[in-house]
């Protein structure tokens, strides 16, 4: 492979590479960040990267936007860029904002219930309340066993 | 006629581009927020007028009338919104205690601009 073809390859795939990097950045934010809002921002990043990936694939060199040109105004055939990725991604953006609104609504509710939007604090609160519940359960079970034993002894 | 329009549009776009660049440089190099506001208004007004004006002349040249109308609308809108936004921004910054760097308060202990603004935000929240 000669240098020029290598450079051509790099230019021809640069979009895809940046898209992959963006996707991975979003992915990293989602799994490594403890903050719920940051996680949703990471998801948005990931989503936009996927959208950009699709749109990059649809582009044709020398093409124009997929809106029909008046045939009288141009001479010769017109190359149109692929309209299909545009259609799919257009709706994906609006759906994406609606679903991330849903995620944000959940975050707001979590904040109201737990007083925090940090994952570890929420987990700690959950564990604490679990432990409390278990202790209560154990206490009540012990109480029940005691009364049962007392009743048996009585009988 | 066409050549005249072309030359005019070159002139306008070059002026607009220069003002955009100057605004960008000012945004980077000016010492504090208020002076940067000054620089940032360059692309908002003359940059937009120059570049879009040049494009309008090209549109007239090519007979794209719809795009000429829309570009004129954009110029009008940006001429309204740009200064309004900057005005509101500076007023908010000032009322939140973000002090401008004047030569009399350029002492090192009065410099922490970032801390200042955060304190201002907290104060604003308490109201």
């Amino acid at each position: 492979m000669s240098w020029t073809s290598l450079i051509d390859h790099a230019i021809g795939h640069y979009n895809y590479w940046v898209c992959v990097v963006l996707m991975m950045l979003g992915f990293y934010i989602v799994i490594a960040s403890g903050n719920l809002i940051k996680k949703i921002i990471g998801l948005n990043l990931f989503q936009t990267a996927v959208i950009m990936f699709y749109i990059s694939m649809g582009k044709i060199d020398g093409g124009t936007a997929p809106i029909l040109v008046d045939p009288e105004k141009v001479s010769g055939p017109v190359v149109y860029t692929n309209p299909l990725p545009s259609v799919l991604m257009l709706t994906a953006i609006v759906v994406g904002v609606a679903t991330s609104a849903l995620g944000l609504a959940l975050v707001v509710r979590i904040k109201e219930a737990y007083g925090s939007i940090e994952e570890d604090e929420i987990l700690a609160a959950d564990r604490a309340s679990d432990a409390k519940e278990q202790a209560q359960y154990a206490a009540s079970a012990a109480q029940a066993a005691k009364t049962e034993a007392a009743q048996q002894g009585h009988a | 006629m066409s050549l005249l329009l072309d030359c005019l549009s070159w002139l306008l776009i070059l002026t607009g581009g220069t003002f955009c660049l100057l605004g960008g440089i000012g945004l980077l190099r000016m010492p504090d927020f208020y002076t940067r506001t000054h620089a940032a208004s360059l692309p908002d007004t003359l940059g937009v007028m120059g570049i879009l004006g040049g494009l309008i002349l090209q549109g007239v040249n090519g007979g794209h009338w719809m795009s000429v109308i829309k570009l004129s609308l954009i110029i009008v809108f940006i001429l309204f919104t740009g200064p309004i936004a900057t005005h509101a921004l500076t007023r908010t910054a000032l009322s939140h205690g973000h002090a401008p760097v004047l030569h009399e308060n350029r002492l090192p202990e009065q410099q922490p601009v970032k801390k200042d603004s955060k304190a201002g935000r907290k104060r604003g929240r308490k109201k």
Binding site: G12, M24, I60, L68, P83 | -
Partner: protein
């Protein structure tokens, strides 16, 4: 040979990468939200550059406008600071690196960017490009594919938006909202409020924004635009009004008792168009049945109705989201 468009594309993608890395590193969530505004600005320019004008239009209105505002509304209800993490999560880094390497390996075999012979440009697309003009009478191929050829998809997506709005309303709609109007201030004190410049500017802008929304809605067949974009722009006009004048007054104009049923009405118009075509003897969403002599006219009518439904749903969903997020009191 690098064309100008490719060069711009390379620069913009680099800008995008820098912004994303900054978003990862900054811990002030407020700054991150503002950077995500920049991120969507850049991505919209990239979409324009890659000839996906309609997508750019949507990203312009949704990403930079509504999304940022919703994020800010959430920050107002939660907190703006991210806690510093206790430790570097090496496990996460490893997973990300491995996945990334696998995806990179996958791109090596892909056809180069801009290759007209790549498999994505299949005969299906050729048919859309060559035949859609005569078959639907709509010059914007994206609109005709969206509303006619792939009408089922779009109906599903409208339903998803509808469902998401209902879920948000279930989560946030009932308790602690301020549906009950706060005692309105008398008009005299209102007019004395000191924001003359913003108010004057907003008065000049709101009208054109709403008008432009209608233009985008009805002109979407010929240029970039359509129901999704128009709905968002209309909602943005209302949001500007609510931001600059008064939340309560905006809510009195577009009161929940009206906007919430309209969300459903849009979906109903969409599905109802499909059922109407059944009555005219066609397939579900086969608009040609509306006018058997001129199928293209039938298609135009169908696309118009469907886009109207989408526009009504999207605009009301966006307004409802704004009012529910920003009308809620901080706990």
């Amino acid at each position: 040979m690098i064309t100008m468009v490719t060069l711009i594309d390379l620069v913009l993608f680099t800008l995008l990468g820098i912004t994303a890395i900054a978003m990862l590193r900054i811990r002030d969530l407020f700054a991150v939200v503002m950077l995500s505004g920049i991120y969507s600005l850049v991505s919209a320019v990239i979409f324009t550059d890659l000839d996906a004008v309609d997508v750019a239009f949507t990203e312009a209105s949704v990403g930079a406008g509504i999304s940022t505002i919703l994020m800010l509304g959430t920050l107002a209800l939660t907190s703006t600071k991210e806690k510093t993490p206790r430790r570097q999560s090496w496990g996460a880094l490893l997973i990300v690196l491995v996945t990334g390497a696998a995806l990179m390996y996958g791109t090596v075999d892909m056809p180069a960017f801009g290759d007209a012979a790549s498999p994505i440009n299949s005969p299906v697309t050729d048919r859309y490009i060559t035949a859609s003009g005569e078959e639907t009478g709509v010059p914007n191929i994206v609109t005709s594919v969206l509303a006619s050829y792939r009408g089922y998809d779009t109906m599903g997506e409208t339903t998803v938006i509808f469902t998401a709005a209902i879920a948000v309303l279930i989560l946030l709609g009932s308790a602690r909202t301020t549906d009950a109007p706060v005692t309105p201030r008398p008009a005299t004190t209102r007019s004395l409020e000191l924001r003359p410049i913003l108010r004057a500017g907003a008065k000049l802008l709101i009208g054109p924004i709403l008008l432009f929304a209608f233009y985008v809605q009805f002109h979407g067949d010929f240029g970039p635009g359509g129901g999704f974009q128009a709905g968002v722009i209309f909602a943005a006009g209302v949001i500007l009004y609510a931001l600059i004048f008064d939340m309560d007054r905006a809510r009195a104009l577009f009161r929940p008792a009206v906007t919430r049923p309209l969300i459903a009405l849009g979906v109903l118009i969409y599905a109802g168009t499909g059922i109407a075509t059944l009555f005219f003897g066609g397939n579900f969403l086969g608009y040609s049945a509306f006018n058997p002599h001129h199928p293209a006219h039938g298609q135009e009518l169908g696309i118009f109705l469907v886009e109207l439904g989408v526009g009504i749903t999207v605009s009301n969903v966006m307004m409802t989201l704004f009012f529910t997020f920003c009308g809620r009191r901080r706990p």
